[in-house]
Structure formats: C-alpha cells, structure tokens
C-alpha cells in the first residue's frame, strides 16, 4: 500500500474506519468524495475497502466482532464497492474471482452456507449464491455462465454428502477450469480428499482464506 499522499491516504483510511463501524451511509459519502477528489481508484479500493474487510475479518476471527456486526461491515463495504464499480477498469473486480456457492441436492440446510457466502462477499469476492437443493447440472451451468474461479459446495447431511462427490466429478468432467471446495458440519478433510475436491474448511473465515488461496494459484 502506498505510504505517501499524506492527507489523501488519511481520507481513504476514514473509509476503512467507516467500514469497520459499519456506517454504510458514511462509506458511500466518503467513496464519492474520494472519487470526486480524483484519488486513485485502486487506492480507494485497496486501502479503503479491502483493507477494512481484512481488519474486520481478523477482528471477527479473534472473537472481538460478532457475526451481525461483521455482516453489517460487509454490507457497508459492498455499498462502497457499488459506487466504485463504474470507475474500475474492466476485470478489476472479476480478477478477485467469482465464487459459485450452493447447498447440494437433497439438502436444505443453509445457515452455514449463507454465512460463508456473506463472508466471501465481505472479502470482496463476487459471489453467486444458487441457494439450496442444487444439482450437478445447475452448478456446472452457473460455473460456466459466471466464469467462476471456485465452486463451493455445502452439505449438512450424511445422506447428501455422496452428492458432493457426484457434483465434483461432473465439474471435472465438464472440463472447466474451476476449483471445488466443500464444507458443512459432517464433512471432513479426509472426505474432501477422497472425493477429489480442491479444498475444505471447517468454518467461514477458513473458507474465505481457502478461496483466496485457490484463486491466486
């Protein structure tokens, strides 16, 4: 991050500050002001919004922030991102990567999946949430359509875990360059390996970290 520019960076830091206290209105105002002041768009994005979410993510992981607070911060960050979007060079957002996420066919548990999706959004990833009860065909179609970097599968029932294997296989068969990650309370690392998924995590912050890693390789 550029250290210079004195006051400007200070103002960008204010954005981060506003995100951290989940003040959506202020984030939008500040981002608009920075754009008007011709601050570098990349700096607003990185030093303002993304850095802020990194801080929020860390505070959440350490137990300092509660889930609703973290989600509100993510919402504030997204509001800022919306303002910024028309000014971003094409692909700058997409470069961060798109994630297609859903709960697998036969399974309707979505509390954990929603949490993972929201945290990913908060981390600046583009997330396409397909919802619950999603079969292989829909996952493959969405992955192609949205040019996804990662497909994330959630399952909470041992009876629907085998469906994960089917979906991972279908994605491989479709020959699309996309990584698959799996999770949900009964899913284990060993199971993820066994079905040939590219990653597994026990919780939402871990899922974000994992996705970032997979997208950067």
């Amino acid at each position: 991050m550029p250290e210079t520019k004195g006051d400007l960076t200070m103002a960008v830091k204010d954005i981060a500050e506003a995100v951290a206290v989940f003040d959506r209105v202020k984030v939008v105002e500040l981002v608009e002001a920075e754009i008007a002041a011709k601050t570098e768009i990349d700096e607003i994005l990185n030093a303002g919004l993304i850095d802020a979410m990194d801080i929020v993510g860390k505070r959440f992981s350490s137990g300092e922030l509660f889930v609703p607070e973290m989600l509100m911060a993510a919402k504030a960050m997204k509001a800022g991102l919306e303002v910024l979007k028309p000014h971003l060079s094409a692909g700058a957002v997409a470069a961060k990567g798109t994630v297609v996420i859903g709960t697998v066919k036969g399974d309707l548990h979505d509390i954990g999946k929603n949490l993972v999706a929201l945290m990913m959004e908060g981390a600046g990833l583009e997330v396409v949430d397909l919802g619950v009860d999603i079969d292989a065909e829909k996952f493959v179609k969405a992955a192609v359509e949205h040019n996804a970097g990662v497909v994330a599968l959630s399952a909470l029932l041992t009876t629907t875990m085998p469906t994960m294997e089917i979906i991972v296989a279908a994605i491989k068969e479709a020959g699309i360059a996309v990584k698959t990650i799996v999770g949900g309370a009964p899913v284990t690392e060993a199971f993820a390996d066994q079905i040939g998924a590219d990653g597994f995590s026990t919780d939402a912050p871990g899922a974000v970290e994992l996705t970032r890693k997979l997208l950067s390789t």
Partner: protein, 469 residues
C-alpha cells in the same frame, strides 16, 4: 409465582396463538408439494404459488381432532408406551453422523455402532423407545441406510421404534416393515419426526413422509425450531410465533388427510452463537423453549416434545453434565411428554458417545425418580413404627427399612457416592474409564429379544430386496 419458566399464563399463550394465526392468514406457510397443496385446496384453503394460507377455523378444526393421548405398541407388549398425560418417554440420540471417542477423537459412525447402541437401548432401565437415527451409519449406501437402522431396532430391541421420515419412500419402508411384524398398521406402532424448515416452510421430503404417516394414522412429531437470530428473530417471542405457526400448519395437513392422526407438538429454538454463527443446542434459551412448548402443548391439549440431554461439550466434563441436566430437568419438570436425545449426544447433536450414553442414563434415572410422586400410603407414613421407636430409634434395624432398602432410593450406576479416601483409591477413578467398565458389562449381558423366526426372515428379506441384494 413469576419464575421465568412458569410465567406463561393463558393470556400470554393466547397472544402467541393469535400472532401465529395472523402469520398463518397473512403470510402463509410454504408447502413445496403440489399434492399437499391439492389437499389444502380441496378443503377450501387459499393457496398462492407454493404458499398456503390458514384461517382460524381451519386451525381450530384441526386441533379438535388431535388425540390428547395415545399408545404406541412395542414388539413386546409389556413395553408399549403411552404418549400424553403425565407420561414422559425417553429416546436416545437422533441423527449424529460421528462417534466421539473417549480420547476426544471423532470418527465416522458405522452400522456396527447402530447395533451396539441397540444393545444399550434394549438393556437400558430408563429408555422407553428407539431412535430412527441413533447414529447415521456412514459406510452403507445412504439411500437405504434407514432400512439398516429400522431392521436393527426391530430385531435387536423389543421397544417401540421410530419410523424413518427422511423421504416418502423411507416412510413407506417403515410402514412395510411394521406390517411384517404386526400384520397391519391399524394402530400406532411407531412414531416419526417431521421437522419443518424455518422460517415458515416445509421441505418437500418431509411433507411427503408426513403425508404417508398421516394416511396410515401413524403418530408424527411435528417440530419447528428457529436458530434465534439467523432463521428467526433473535427474540424468543418472535421465533416462537414463527415456529408455532409452522407446526400448526403441519398438524393441520395431517388432520385433513386423516382426522385423529396422533400428533406430538414440538417447537424449539436455539441461540445462534453470535461470535461464529454456530448453532447452540444447550442453553437457558433452549430450556426456556422447553418450558414454553409444554405450556403450549397443554394449551392445545396435545402431547408435546422437548429436546433431551443436550450439551455443546465433547467429553464427560462439568459442562456436559451441567447442560444435559439443565435441559432434561427442565423438560421433565415442565411436563414434556417425550424427549429425543435423552442419552448419548455430544456437541451440537453431531456426535454420539458410548460413555455419555451411560452417564446420561444416570441422569434419566434420577429425573424419572424426581418426577415420581411422593408415596403417601399408610405404609409410607409408618406411623406405628415412628411412635414405637420414639426418640430412641435406629431405623436401620427395622423391617420397614429392610423391605425397602433396595428399591426406595434412586441408585446411580456411574455417579459415585463414597468417601474421599475410597475415591482416591478407586481404580479406575476417571469417570470416562468407569463408564467404559459399565459398557463392557452391558454388552455382555445383552440378549437378543425373542422374535418369530418367520417374521425375522421376512424382515431381512424385505430389507435385502430393497437394497438389491
């Protein structure tokens, strides 16, 4: 008295009911099954897309046909259970796909574990009926796992069974197997758990199984629960209204299909762990729901279900004991008629433990004793003896004491009641290791209950055929 768990007067219960009616009428409940909506429409209900709307009179009519108590037959008639009234029936863990070992390690549950737990249920002094997923066996094909479990509970125990509600097909399998045992399913021979999805909806598979069981007149536990703050409002009042409305809608469908279908009314609500988004299963808020659900059960005059000896712990520590006891004691004292998860469940209902099962049995026994009314017979007052002994008595020397010394008090199997040096010298002293000793004895003393060899053959045949063997 205005203790937090007893302050549910008719007015408060009435307001929960009225707000539920408002939701049922204005917002409706989502039933993603066309055949279910068809039944509602035939009875004049308004539907819109997948939403079904209910009027007060619909709910009133449905509630009118629900029996206030019923009997579930066991393979051994001496073990039939009565659901409703003052009765409190207990079943072990439901659903965990993992076993938590004494070392703390977790491993996948296997069919062998189902069999071992069946032995414990059969030899249990305190458990009254089986669970349909005592653990989820992970190594067998999942589409037919329910058949493996049903077969085990029918052959290895002679206590009442739970039917499988994981799909319409699984429900039909449950009925088929029961027919092979009882010749028909005219009377209740199982009970099954149908969970709604919060907020305000049902899953298609659950509705399918509800419909199959209702047609056969087999009892159903209709249960709704919100994760407070994620699938429902963070406040108990708001979540209660959602859950009550959803449960009432399910009860209504069952009564339309087959008026008089036995129902156990269930609602729960667990806090969302605000630091992680996790589901917290053993908390004062959960226990409060238990107290409220029993009050609402009485309000509607329907038997009610509560959660059992739940804990968020993963070993036999203070937390496991404290949480399990809080949950089960609240259920017992506030008048629940039935609890699943009474024995064996660890953290968030995801893991079963053999050692916890043994420890929970002590808790179940203590609670059943606690619930028993105090005996006020002449023999219990024993006035003659008291007068005779006056101030000089040593009651240990009396026949009255001798006659009752093995039966009067609750005797724990696992908990210790000894003096400090004896405890220090105890081998093993660790509670988990002591539980292991009791387990070994229980497995050794287990005997397979008698069954007509023809029936057994047919049951096995049915399951094998369904599994394509």
């Amino acid at each position: 008295m205005n203790r937090a768990i007893t302050n549910f007067d008719q007015k408060m219960l009435g307001s929960i009911h009225n707000y539920s009616l408002e939701l049922l009428n204005d917002t409706g409940i989502r039933f993603p099954n066309e055949n279910a909506r068809e039944i509602f429409r035939e009875h004049g209900f308004r539907t819109d897309g997948e939403m079904v709307f209910f009027k007060e009179k619909d709910i009133r009519m449905a509630l009118n046909t629900v029996p206030s108590s019923f009997t579930i037959k066991a393979r051994n008639p001496a073990k039939d259970i009565q659901i409703g009234g003052d009765n409190y029936m207990m079943a072990p863990g439901y659903g965990p796909p993992f076993i938590i070992e004494p070392s703390g390690e977790k491993r996948n549950a296997l069919l062998d574990d189902v069999h071992k737990f069946c032995k414990l249920v059969q030899t249990s002094q305190y458990l009254d009926f089986n669970s349909s997923i005592i653990v989820q066996p992970t190594e067998v094909p999942q589409e037919t796992a329910h058949l493996d479990i049903l077969l085990a509970t029918l052959l290895m125990t002679d206590k009442p069974i739970m039917g499988s509600s994981s799909s319409g097909i699984a429900a039909k399998d449950s009925l088929k197997l029961a027919e092979l045992v009882w010749g028909n399913t005219d009377e209740p021979v199982m009970i099954s758990l149908v969970d709604s999805l919060s907020p305000l909806q049902y899953a298609a598979e659950m509705v399918d199984s509800l419909m199959v069981f209702a047609e056969a007149g087999q009892p159903v536990i209709v249960h709704s629960s919100c994760s407070l703050g994620s699938t429902g409002p963070i406040t108990i009042a708001g979540s209660l209204v959602i859950s009550n409305a959803t449960t009432l809608a399910g009860i209504c469908l069952a009564q339309l299909i087959n008026p008089g279908t036995p129902i156990v009314y269930g609602l729960g609500g667990s806090p969302t762990e605000m630091k992680t988004g996790g589901y917290v299963n053993a908390s004062p808020e959960d226990a409060k729901h238990t107290a409220i659900v029993t009050a609402l059960g009485r309000y509607y005059n329907i038997p009610c279900r509560s959660q059992g000896a739940l804990t968020e712990s993963f070993c036999l520590d203070y937390q496991a004991g404290m949480e399990s006891a809080m949950m089960l004691t609240t259920a017992a004292l506030s008048g629940a008629n039935l609890s699943l998860h009474a024995c064996g469940t660890y953290g968030s209902m995801l893991g079963m433990s053999y050692e916890k099962f043994i420890a929970d049995e002590d808790l179940c026994g203590a609670i059943k004793k606690l619930m028993q009314p105090v005996e006020f017979t002449d023999d219990a007052f024993s006035m003659d003896m008291i007068k005779e002994l006056g101030t000089s008595g040593n009651y240990l020397m009396e026949m009255h004491t001798l006659k009752r010394c093995r039966s009067e008090f609750f005797m724990p199997e696992l908990s210790i009641r000894t003096i400090h040096n004896k405890w220090l010298e105890m081998e093993p002293r660790d509670i988990t290791e002591r539980a292991a000793g009791i387990l070994a004895k229980r497995f050794a003393e287990y005997e397979k209950p008698e069954i007509d060899p023809d029936i057994e053959k047919h049951l096995v045949q049915y399951v094998n055929t369904r599994k394509g063997l």
